[in-house]
Subunit: 137 residues, 2 copies
DNA sequence: GGTGGTTTTGACAATGGTTGTCAGTCTTGA
DNA sequence: TCAAGACTGACAACCATTGTCAAAACCACC
């Protein structure tokens, strides 16, 4: 029923994509396309805004970055350590992120959907709060 | 530490707000401001787009409607039956929504946040799938 | 049933993130 | 080296959402 998982179609290696990749590797927190673009421009390795968007889109499609929406509705991206499905505990003030696994929640979500006859199930789950460092200030 | 819960500041009852309210009462699924506006226009009871946005904003602030973001990032609104905190099981294709309570998940989210020293915690959790009716088609 | 002050409305402009366009450039495999 | 096609970037277009502000509606209170 579900489309077979594609083996991550190969993409060409370009200077622009490497630059975006580098930033993602160096950045702990979720970052928006606009921020990433500004960062690249600032560090000299300019990359077109459209290219930044396209690159992030591709990475997200391939599951190589996680995406979620900030309070303002802006899409923000992050290269996570964990490869497997997981969720995030994010600081509302500084963006500090902790990757979270919750097997019990996964099972619960699945069973809830089953109970109501919903198929092809996915879910979103994020936890927001104030991290210790920000709370101290 | 937390701001005291305000007693839902009183707002004036106007034709426009009543119209928006009516649509929300009659609508089972999550609906966007644009859709709501088009619906009102179609049914003759025209209401300015800005007013629709303002009204939904106010309702959301007062906790009288639930808001979440569609895949496209558009905000969608729904008047839920349950007054207390809850989550949703939403059909990706037709929007059919089931309200879900998950006490265990609530506790889990809180404990995860505690473990990492995060305070002032909130969370978002939605389950998406294909409802039985849509699966049949 | 008039009056002044406050709230609400709506047409329109402005904002801002995101996507579309398309001619020129770069990669890649042969 | 070369051609096919992927990639880029400046720019325009899109579109949900918010800001503006004068006119309209509303609400005591006289
Ligand atoms: Zn992640
Ligand atoms: Zn999960
Ligand atoms: Zn709800
Ligand atoms: Zn919850």
């Amino acid at each position: 029923m579900t489309v077979r998982e594609q083996p991550a179609k190969e993409h060409r290696r370009t200077r622009q994509r490497a630059a975006v990749d580098d930033v993602l590797d160096e950045t702990e927190d979720f970052i928006s396309a606009q921020e990433l673009h500004a960062l690249l421009r600032a560090r000299g390795a300019g990359v077109g805004l459209a290219t930044v968007y396209r690159t992030l889109q591709t990475l997200a499609d391939d599951g190589r970055v996680d995406v979620l929406r900030s309070d303002a509705g802006e899409a923000v991206y992050r290269r996570c350590v964990r490869e497997e499905h997981h969720h995030h505990l994010v600081c509302r003030s500084c963006g500090a992120t902790v990757e979270i696994a919750g097997p019990a929640v996964e099972r619960w979500a699945k069973s809830v959907a089953d109970q109501h006859g919903y198929s092809d199930v996915s879910h979103t789950l994020e936890i927001f709060g104030t991290c210790p460092r920000c709370a101290a200030a």
